[in-house]
Every structure is written in structure tokens, then in C-alpha cells.
């Protein structure tokens, strides 16, 4: 076996599922690849796909990761024994590769795309939304809630501000207006909502 170059070795290390990893690297240097490799190795180790959670910040990243993972696992499903062993080793996998292991590796593709409840490679937002929907009583939300659009949130904040200015809290808003320099209150209320985690219902 040819010795691995340094970068590949470190990618393998980062993809080792047994240890916690903080990975930071340049754009285009293969972070997503390492992440998908790590998921693939977890699956190889026999972890149920529904027990894996991958959070990303953007929808684009989540979809891309999922597609890449399916591509990789899909390729395994159709490789012959020797080629599949090579592919697993190239991933840094050092476990056993008996016929039975290989047969199992070939089924990971279909198992992953059919993860009960869907493979949890998703954005933080959709993960949180799913949690809230699962526990509507505790979260104090409707089980059928939808995420508010930015524009609708702005209108709602404006309505709330107007209600405040017209109601018993008027002096409070008045006092705030005395020290507030900006042109309009909406900008500051948007910041208040986003930094305190207040929600409107």
C-alpha cells in the first residue's frame, strides 16, 4: 500500500467516527467530503441511519451532503468485491471485509435513502422546527405552525409596536423613544427579537 499523503491522512482522522472532531479548512478543500465520509463510516460500523444527525446551516449544504452520501453509498452497491474493498480502505476503514460485510455495505445505499423518517441531514432550522412540532404542548405552539416569512414578521412587529404605543405600555415606549436615535423603530425591534429569542405567536 502506498503511504498516504498528509492531507488524506488527516482527512481520514477527521472522518474517524469514534472521536470528536473540530474541523476547519479552506473552502473547496473537502470539508463536506470528510463529513460524508464520517457518516459513511458510521453506517459501515453498523449505526442505524435514523440514529445519525447532521446539522448544516444552509439548505443547499444539507441537500448537497445528502446527494454526495447517496452517490458514494450507491457506488458501493454495484462494485465487485475487490473494488469495494479498495473503496472502503480508501475511506480509511480498517474493519473486517468478509463477504458478509461486503454484502451489508452494498445494502447501505437503499437503507440510507429509506431511513425511517428520512435521513437527518438537515438545517438547524428544520431540525428545530421538527422538535417544536413533536412537542407542541411543551413549546407552546400549534402543532400545525408554519415558520413566519420575514415580511410578515415585520408587519406583525409593526402591529405590536402600534398596540404598545396605544395601550397601557405607551409610557414605556415613550421613554424608549426619548433615548432612541434611529429613524424608525422597526429596525431595532427586529434586532431585539433576533437577539433575545423572543417569538411572536
Amino acid at each position: 500500500m502506498t503511504p498516504l499523503d498528509e492531507a488524506t491522512r488527516r482527512q481520514h482522522d477527521a472522518a474517524r467516527p469514534g472521536q470528536s472532531t473540530w474541523l476547519s479548512a479552506n473552502a473547496g478543500s473537502g470539508k463536506t467530503r470528510v463529513l460524508t465520509d464520517r457518516v459513511a463510516r458510521l453506517l459501515l460500523d453498523g449505526v442505524q441511519p435514523q440514529h445519525i444527525l447532521c446539522l448544516t446551516y444552509t439548505k443547499a449544504a444539507a441537500a448537497e451532503m445528502q446527494n454526495r452520501l447517496f452517490q458514494r453509498l450507491g457506488a458501493w452497491a454495484m462494485l465487485d468485491d475487490a473494488a469495494l474493498r479498495d473503496a472502503l480502505r480508501a475511506l480509511g476503514y480498517t474493519g473486517s471485509t468478509t463477504d458478509r460485510d461486503l454484502r451489508r455495505a452494498r445494502t447501505l445505499f437503499a437503507r440510507a435513502i429509506e431511513t425511517p423518517g428520512g435521513l437527518k441531514i438537515q438545517t438547524i432550522h428544520s431540525f428545530c422546527a421538527a422538535l417544536l412540532r413533536r412537542f407542541p404542548l411543551e413549546a407552546g405552539v400549534s402543532p400545525q405552525f408554519t415558520e413566519i416569512e420575514d415580511r410578515a414578521a415585520e408587519l406583525l412587529r409593526a402591529e405590536l409596536l402600534d398596540q404598545m404605543a396605544d395601550g397601557p405600555d405607551a409610557p414605556l415606549l415613550g421613554a424608549f423613544a426619548q433615548i432612541y436615535n434611529g429613524d424608525e423603530l422597526l429596525r431595532i425591534t427586529a434586532r431585539i427579537f433576533s437577539t433575545t429569542g423572543l417569538s411572536v405567536s
Partner: protein, 989 residues
Amino acid sequence: MCERGETPRLFGCAPGVDFPRALVDGLTARIGDAAPDALARVTVLVNTQRMARRLQDLFEAGPPRLLPRIGLLTQLDRLLPDAPLPPAAPALRRLLELEPLVAKLIEQERDLNTRSASFDLARSLAQLMDEMQGEGVSADQIMRLDVSDQSGHWARAQNFFGIAQDYIDATRDAPDPEARQRATVLRLAAHWTAQPPKHPILIAGSTGSRGTTQLLMEAVARLPQGALILPGFDFDSPDAVWDRLMRSITDPDLAREEDHPQFRFAQMMHSMGLRRRDITPWSSAPAPAPARNALVSLALRPAPITDAWRAEGPVLEPDLPDATRSITLIEAESARAEATAIALRLRAAAEDGQRAALVTPDRMLTRQVTAALDRWNIRPDDSAGVPLHLSPPGRFLRHVADLMLRPLDAEALITLLKHPLTHSAGGRSDHQINAQRLELRMRKDGMPYPTGPLLTACAARAAPRDGAAMEAWASWLAATLDGAHDDLARPLADWVTRHLALAEALANGPSPAGPSELWQKDAGEAALAMMQDLAAQAEHGGTLAARDYGALVSGLLAAGEVRNPDAPHPGIMIWGTLEARVQGADLVILAGLNDGTWPEAPPPAPWLNRKMRADAGLLLPERRVGLSAHDFQQAIAAPEVWLTRSIRSDDAETVPSRWINRLRNLMTGLPDGVGADCWQTMQDRGAQWLDHARALDAAPDRPKAARPSPRPPLAARPRRLTVTEIQTLIRDPYAIYAKHSLRLRPLRPLVPSADALLRGILLHDVMEHFVRATLDDPGARRADVLMQHACEILAREVPWPAARTLWQARIARAADWIVETEGQRQSLGTPAVMEADAIGRLDLPAIATTIEGRADRIDLDPDGNAILYDYKSSAPPSADQQKFFDKQLLIEAAMVEAGGFAALGPRPVAAAQFIGLSGQRTADVPLEEEPPAKVLADLAGLLSAYLEPKKGYTSRRALYVDREARDFDQLARFGEWDVTDDPVPEDLS
């Protein structure tokens, strides 16, 4: 007819077989030449109305004969020996009765903060109850689940199940539809066990997706003359696959293969103790594409045995060209491109007389395709119709419900006035004219929150010449809308009454000549039926707020649907995935094949997680996936097939549907490369249509507009400008051309906002009132007096409470500074004229042009010299800006010296100053550098330049801020050019 063979008796039809036709053929063949009444003794139970209709049509198209009885699985009363159960209680009633119980529980539970969600929670609980009754699971069974949970979550959830159980117990006499169906099936099964019917009973087209249906099917299969005919039975799966599916039911170490398309059948076989070989084809009709069925069957293998792909795939490989010959794969850049390509193909089908069906769960996509087909006047036969809440009466009723929800705002008013059902009982055209006049006036005056008095006053201003008619209309409107908004909690029945009264009053207009259009046509009738149903059930509901009432009505409307009234194209169909089972199309387009769309993402399940559901015997989300997979397997077996998806959604790439992923992976990974070639060919066929779609949507690249600099004839150029327009003439001459030569005025927004323009106007007002007051009483030059004026004016003129608070605070901050500097100003001179009567005028006879202007304020010093002031709510202009652009005060100073202000006569100007109110800063006008004589000469030069025929009014000539949006940008087609382009003059006649 089913004399031979053991029971239970199961038959199948392969995917892609025209199921109703095969059913009829098989039945006819089995009857053979028995007595003519043999067929009439047969009972056929089918799963959908559509299937029943198609069967009926096929029988009627055949030779004259006595027909079998065709019934629906949900209508079994006829088969019972004795009186049927009382009719089921409507689902709406259950929702209405559950909601107060849920609300009460939420109130009792201190730590729950979900009062506003009681309807949603009740709806979700009702769904769970449906399922419990359909699967024969009691609340007790659920409550007994072994759940280790310390958080109190399970205890809380159990309280809700308690509600459900109490409710079910209390409504035994009037069960809901699921419970009634189950009770009926149980009675029927007991009756059949005691007295097995001698005549044939067939159940056709059902997969037994629900527990109750499966019970019935099992009972029928065991009858001496009973049989089940299963749709889309996969005869290609080898025994090993069936064994695996069945083993997954019993073997605790294996996960149940619920998401496999054939799993429901495997479960049926398992519970009846059947093997694969016990199931035979119902008719001899071959599948349209047997090779494709084998391929799809292999691709859809249960996940744990997909390693068979490598073993069995190569066997199929030689047949792949045949299997995929009639498949086109569309992978479009966007959902829109997907829809256009589909529409093109459907159009081709219509032209060739091919029967084509679009099958997808994605209603947005079907709407896009329908819209795209409209350009060729093709109206597809959409099995789902239009959701009632999107139909005209549905929208109207929602708008009216909104009126009760919040104070009337301008947008809601105009939306309603322009709705085609408003004032639709005669005199509609007068109504339209009145509404238009009102709107124009409202835009001019600004009226964010119309009230009765405001409306009538505005209407009077809107049509001074046509007063009486307009007044009558406006008072009708004001009276009808008065009191619509209501934030009390009321009994549901009250809300329904108010809603209906308001809707009918608005639809009728002041003097109806007959019934309005509101309840007319299919959609109106459906909406009326829904509202009457709600009114009839209203007594069962609790008290609720307008918001909950609005949500309830919207939800009910959204659940209804209206068939498209236009006669649709007979051969172009849009089917839901379930209807695809009926088959009978030459071309089937499977669209929206992306993960999360088809199969759909599982709906949120708030009460029980997956494991609890499995333990309790409720539906698992995977069952829905399995049913979808079965729909897919049947649809893809049609004679010709299109598979379409978009590779991107709005914000990200998409993940292909799992079935597409499987198919691609299997085909492209086969060793001989035949599969990969076939896949490529399928894609190539699709790419061709995508090219057509692109060509269809391509807009020809038109030359971009040049930066305009129109040169209207001299007669059309303005000879009368205001002082403030001089700055516009310098910075953006095109705006002067648009306003004076074309006589265009921007239409102001319907809902005015608290903008800088209004703020400026009001600050002027405040200063004027304040200064006037100090003239009468020098002791009034105090901050509190200033604020008193400010509060009064803002209270009167600013309808937005928050903006009012903010502006008030702003003036308050500057109050001391204003009072102090006002003292200085009044020590220098005495205010002589103020805005209201400070109109000045400057005639330039040499060029026959007049300049008019309104000065904010002119004071006179003890020597009789004038001092000019201008209030600014923003920062005052710099000296350079004044010299080259903002010449307002310079020109006014020249006006004063030339005697342009009649009240003052000609006088020397001692000083001029801008007062920046919110910046608390003043700026002197550079009178020495720009003496009046020079200003006048410059002005005359500028104006006469624009009276040269060769001088054009260039757009955006010299703006202060390059990004600034201007009123006439669209007319000038700014954006097609930018300011680095040279203006292109154009002589106008």
C-alpha cells in the same frame, strides 16, 4: 364462478395492466356462458368512485347484459342483513365538540401556553382518533404503553388521550365515520360467518391500507364465492422477496418492510396463511411493458436485500433497451421548466389524440402545468378540481372573515371592493366606478385605517360632481362595514350568523335587483353548502375569538373542492397518485419525483413517536411511503412513461425521489454498461423536450433602451415652475418633462407609510403653530408649549401610534434647542409672513416663464430687511449643494428683492438660514457668494437653456445619491442603461 380452488382466494393484476378492463374481462371470462342472471348476482366492491364509474362505463360499452352490482368499500349498509347503524356523525361536529374540551384542559394545566392552538390541537387529536378507530386501537392500549419519561411529557399527552377516550365512549350512539365503518365491517363479518352468502363477492382495486379495510378483505376472501383482486401485484418478485417481506412481520430482529410497495399484500398473505404461488393473475391481459416491470421490481427490492442488484441485475441487462424504450427522463433546471416541458408533451398528446395523464402529489406543479396549457386553450381534466378556498366565493368569504378579525385597513377595503362578488346583485358597474374614485381619492389623501365617517367624507371629495349617487353608495358601505371588527369571544353560532350577514350584505349591495352572485355556480353552491353545514353544527362549538373563527372557516374551505366548471379536454388528465390505480392512459407522466414531494415528507406527529406507534399498532409513517411506492410502481408501468423532477428548488439543489435514485443506481452501475447507456438515452430524450421548453420560454433578446433625453416641442415645455422644481430640473430634468409635458403624477401607495415626506410636512406645521403662538404671547416661548402643539398635530395627523411616539420624542429632544434658537431669531427680527400666506412669484418676461414658491417663514429686522428661514426635518444642505443644486432659499431671496412676495414688496434680504430640526443644526445661505442678481441670471440661463429645441430633458442627470429611486425610473427604463451612458436625445412632436 369461483367454484374451484381453496379459500381464501386472492388474484392479482400486474402493474400497468388496465385494471378496470382486466377486471371486466376476467369476470366475463369466468362467467362464461352461464345463465344471463349469473353476472347480476355478482357484487363488486371497489375503492374509489372513479374506479366504479370506469367499471360502469366499460360494462355499458360491452354487449347488452345484466350488470353486476358495483359498490364502494365505504358503503356497505346494503350488504347487512338488518338495519344499518345510525349515520356517522360529521367530522366537523367532532372537531367542534373536542375543541372546548381541549381548551379547558389547556386552561387547567398551568404550564401550558397553547390556548391559541386549541383548534389545531383538537384537529390533530381528531386525526389520531380517526386512526385509532380505523386500526381498532383503544386509548387504553396507548396509555398502557411502557414509556420511560421523566419530563412530564407523557403524562400530559395521556391527559389528552383521556379526552379522546371519554369522547369516544360518550359518542357510541353517534360514532364518527371510521368507528362506524369498523363496526359495520365487524357485523358483516359475523353475519357472513354464520350465513355465508352463496353469490360471488369481489373486492377489487384495494390494497387494504387501513386496518378496517383489511378486516373486510380477509372476510370476503374466505367466503365460499369471495375473492380479492389486487391491483399492481408484483408477479416479478421472486419467492425469496415475498418470504423476506413476510418474515419481517414476525421476526423481531427484522425491521418491518412497511415502505416496500408490496408490503401490504405480503401482510395480507401472511394473515391468511398464503404463499406467493397461491396468487394467480385475474385475467390474461399482459402488462404493457413486462421487461420494465421486472426492472422496477428489482430496483424496488427491500433495502436489506439490495445486494441482489449485483447478482440479478446482469441477467436483466440485455432487456434494458426494451424496458426503457418508452421512458423519458426530465431533469429540469427549475420547477417552472419542468412544468413547461410537461405542458409541451401534453399538448403533443392532445394533438396526436393520445390519452395522457399527469400524476403527481404536487398541486403547485399541476397548477403550473395547467397555466402553461392555457396558452393552447387546453383545459386538463383535473381530478382534484380547485380547492374551495381559492375559488371566488372561498376567497370572498375569507376576506369577509378577516374584516371581523382586525380594524379595517385600506388594503382590506380595496381588496373587498374589487372582488367580483362584491355588489354583484345589480349596479355592479356603478359600484366599480365608485370604488375606483374612492381608491384614487384615498391614495391622494392617505387613509390607512378607513372608518365610516372618514369613508363618507372621502367619497364626497372623490366625486364632487356626482355627489348624490356616490354619497348613497358610501353610506351603504360605511353602514355595512361599521362594527364588523369585533374582538370579543362569541359563541360559534354568533360568528356564523355575523359572517353570513356581512358577506351577503356586501354581495347584495345597497339595492339588490335579485340574488347576488355569491352563492351561484358550482363554487358558490359548494361554499353555501359548507356554510350551512357549519351553521347546522355550530351549536356543538364553544365560544371563540374572531381569529379562531377565521382559521376554522379557512380550514373548512381549504378542505372543500370545486370541479372546474369548464368542459375539460377528454384525453388530457391530471390525477392524484391514488387515481393512477384506475389506469387507462397511453402516456403517464410521473412528475415532482423529488424526495419530500413524492414520496411526501411524513406529516408532523405530535402525540406519539415512531416506536410508540409501532407498539400500539397504529400506522407508521413508513406505511404511507409504502403506499406511495405502490402508486409509483403502477404508474411507471404504463405503456409510455415520463419521469420528471427539477434538480433545484428555490434555494437549494433537490434530492431525487428514492425510487429514481434506486433505478439510476441499479441501471448505471451494471457491469456491461448497457444500463448506463439506457439511462443516458432516457435523459437525452428528456433533454430534447427541455430544449423545446427553453425555446418556448425564451424571450428574444431585444435591444436595450438608451438613456432618454426627450426634446418635446417648445409649446409643450413648462413655463411655470415651483422653486423646489428648480432643483429637480437640475438633478433629474426627465422628471420635469414627465410631470409637465406628459402631465403624469405618481400614484401614491394605498397604505401610506410614516415616511420622511410626511414627517417634514408635520414639523413645518408644528413650528408654524408654535411661532404664531409666541407672537401673541411671548411667554409661550417654552418647551412645554411647543410640545403641546406637537402632540396635538401629531395626534391629529399621524394614524400610526408607534411612529407618533417616535416623532414626538424626536421633537421633544430638540425642544429646548428650538426654544433657545427661536429666542435668538425673534431678537433679530419679527416673523412677518409664514407658510400659509408666504406665496411668492417671480416673472421672467424675457423667457415668458414664471417661478412660484412658498417660503416657510420670512422675518423682518428692525431696518425692514428680510430674513428667510426654511425648516428641514433632515440635515440642511451644504453651501456647495446650495450653490449648484438646492437653490431654494437663494431663489426665494432673489424673489424677495424683486418684490415677488406681495405682502412684503421689494426689500433687501439681510440673511437666510436653514433650520435642521432633528439634527439641531442651522446652516446659513451663502448670500454674499451668490448675490440675488447672480442667482437670477443663473436661473434665467438655466430656464432659457431648456427653451432651446435642441435641449433634452435627460433622466437622472446629476442625482445626489446614485441609488436613489425616482418616480419616473420605469418610464425612463432606467436599469436598461446606467448613468455612465450618454443620453440619447429624441425629438418629439
